[in-house]
């Protein structure tokens, strides 16, 4: 098993265990079991190179974690579970791109660059998530609406910029 595959396995197992743990702590054993099953299904899909399964399972992981947060289970476990799922999803796509090439120039270097960038995303996301979950701010609805609109405007501009670049 290559280093990349080991990391993917760790990510997928971590993601399912964390979400299962969050549900188990909230006395939802059946959902916890479903989380474990979903993790196993993802591992099988990865081993069998089912490309179509990756996006579906990421959406599933998002739904499971979001539902857990809404049901007020442990948000830290759920947030990190989703982060691990995102990592696994990204690395599976990366491994597919690597496998599709007949030859990879400097495979270790390419993997290292990718893993380093992903680690940066993980560290930054973890800090922000912990900060967001720890610091509780009460914003009036008007502020929330304003922030929401600002987000929409920024995202719209971003999309236009991306479309202009034909990417």
């Amino acid at each position: 098993m290559s280093r990349l595959e080991r990391i993917i396995w760790i990510d997928l197992i971590l993601s399912s265990i964390l979400s299962a743990g969050a549900y188990a702590l909230g006395s939802q054993g059946i959902v916890a079991f479903i989380c474990i099953l979903a993790g196993c299904a993802w591992i099988v899909a990865f081993q069998r190179r089912w490309q179509w399964a990756g996006n579906l399972i990421l959406i599933g992981a998002f739904l499971i974690t979001a539902s857990g947060v809404v049901l007020q289970f442990n948000p830290y476990l759920l947030a990190f579970s989703f982060l691990a799922a995102l990592n696994g999803w990204d690395l599976i796509h990366f491994s597919i791109r690597v496998a599709a090439a007949d030859r990879v120039n400097d495979l270790t270097g390419t993997q290292n660059v990718h893993l380093r960038k992903l680690l940066e995303v993980d560290i930054f996301s973890s800090l922000l998530m912990v900060l967001a979950l720890t610091v509780q701010l009460r914003l009036p609805f008007g502020w929330i609406l304003l922030l929401g609109m600002a987000t929409v405007i920024v995202l719209t501009r971003l999309i236009k910029a991306i479309q202009n670049q034909n990417l």
Binding site: I59, A66, V70, P75, R97, R103, V113
Partner: protein
């Protein structure tokens, strides 16, 4: 679904749910998504400018010989974290070594080189464009480029060696060669007896006739041997060339023309080639190795094609060939061709037809059709009628079962009868 849009939709849905439920913890799930997207956006190459050059070690090779190519990719833009290079090959070329797709990363002004080796069958191949896909480190944004290539590789047919064919055109050229010229002079074959002329060598005096006539000396004359004008015609009409899957009888015609051209040119003849199919490709007659190279190059790019105006041989431009010269046509022969060929013969051309047999070819390729099938028998009878008509008009015709080498067929037919090929005994 595009990966960027998937994450974007998830983040947006998450925000909306958080806003509706007024639950900040739900919004936290969007944080890794947004940071991931932002990291991908930040790592996206700002300007993409890539050069690709494919250099071949040789542009003219024999079928099956390996060609080495070096592909050099240069990045003139900003850093590319993931560069996927696709190096396709034309149909007809086979990759022996080297990757079809390479994943690499290139710093600004950095160059990557990839080697590949391929072989191919007969043809002229323009190297296809090299496709490159640039991506950010997470593969969220990609940009595809097609980099045109100007290289070209020509794979002419490799001519088989053939024994000399005893052709006998009505007129020959002025240079010494192997073809009997129907003129008396110095040679090896006895031609005539004439009265002695001053300067004739004594050993050529025919003493027996001299003694019998008792009026002076008589000298043996021998047949002059000269070179000739030979016009090769390749039938490239789609209607007369059968294609079954990947196999086509046209390839056998090409091989025959290549071998005949080499043989006639080696004997010092002046040879031209007309390819009659979609259009008319004409290689002006010439001598020697250079002419052989020209003919092989023309054969390399020869393809069958359909053209309504050239569907029959009626528009065959016979005036291209010198009068009373030898014409050698390689054609599977269709029923409507007979009339034109007879007319060609009537104009004084010596015509030799080499006909790859389409019926045998089709029978071999389609095993479910039996040889004694009424349709097959009818086709054979029809063909025999055409062949007989052509033979009666003085055209030499060789029916070629393409499973056998042309040399073997020619040898089996080379029982001389007045220096002409005896091609009549083989059943069609």
């Amino acid at each position: 679904m595009n990966r960027f849009w998937l994450l974007f939709v998830l983040a947006t849905v998450d925000f909306l749910v958080a806003l509706i439920l007024r639950n900040g913890a739900v919004a936290v799930l969007a944080v890794p998504l947004l940071i991931y997207l932002a990291a991908g956006l930040q790592a996206m190459p700002e300007n993409v400018s890539i050069d690709a050059v494919q250099v071949l070690d040789q542009n003219l090779v024999n079928p099956g010989d390996p060609v080495n190519a070096i592909v050099t990719i240069t990045n003139h833009g900003s850093r590319i974290d993931e560069l996927e290079v696709h190096i396709p090959l034309n149909p007809g070329l086979d990759r022996i070594e080297g990757p079809a797709a390479v994943l690499t990363q290139l710093a600004p002004e950095q160059t990557g080189q990839f080697a590949l080796t391929f072989t191919g069958s007969r043809g002229v191949y323009k190297l296809p464009d090299i496709e490159v896909v640039t991506r950010d480190v997470f593969g969220l944004f990609s940009h595809s480029l097609s980099l045109p290539q100007s290289g070209r590789v020509t794979i002419p047919p490799s001519p088989d060696r053939l024994r000399r064919l005893p052709i006998r055109p009505l007129e020959t050229r002025g240079f010494a060669g192997p073809i009997p010229s129907r003129l008396g002079g110095s040679g090896t074959d006895f031609f005539d007896v004439r009265e002695y002329q001053l300067g004739d060598p004594l050993r050529r005096v025919n003493w027996r006739i001299t003694a019998r006539q008792n009026r002076g000396l008589y000298t043996n004359d021998y047949e002059l041997e000269r070179t000739a004008n030979v016009g090769l015609i390749l039938d490239a009409r789609q209607s007369s060339n059968i294609e079954i899957g990947q196999d086509t009888i046209f390839e056998y015609s090409i091989a025959a023309i290549a071998a005949l051209a080499a043989m006639f040119l080696n004997d010092g003849n002046r040879v031209g080639l007309l390819t009659y199919g979609y259009g008319m490709e004409w290689v002006f007659p010439g001598y020697g190795k250079v002419q052989q190279d020209r003919i092989l190059r023309a054969l390399a790019k020869a393809e069958t094609g359909h053209n309504f105006s050239l569907d029959s041989l009626e528009n065959l431009p016979v005036r291209l060939f010198p009068a009373k010269s030898q014409i050698v046509m390689v054609s599977p022969l269709s029923q409507s061709d007979a009339e034109t060929l007879v007319r060609l013969r009537a104009r004084g051309y010596e015509v030799l037809m080499i006909c790859p047999d389409p019926i045998s070819f089709e029978l071999k390729k389609t095993p479910h059709i039996r040889a004694d099938d009424p349709a097959v028998r009818l086709a054979r009878i029809e063909r025999r009628l055409v062949v007989n008509q052509l033979k009666q008009s003085g055209i030499q015709l060789l029916n070629w079962d393409v499973d056998l080498p042309l040399e073997q067929i020619l040898r089996s037919a080379q029982f001389y009868r007045g220096s002409r090929l005896n091609l009549s005994e083989k059943p069609v």
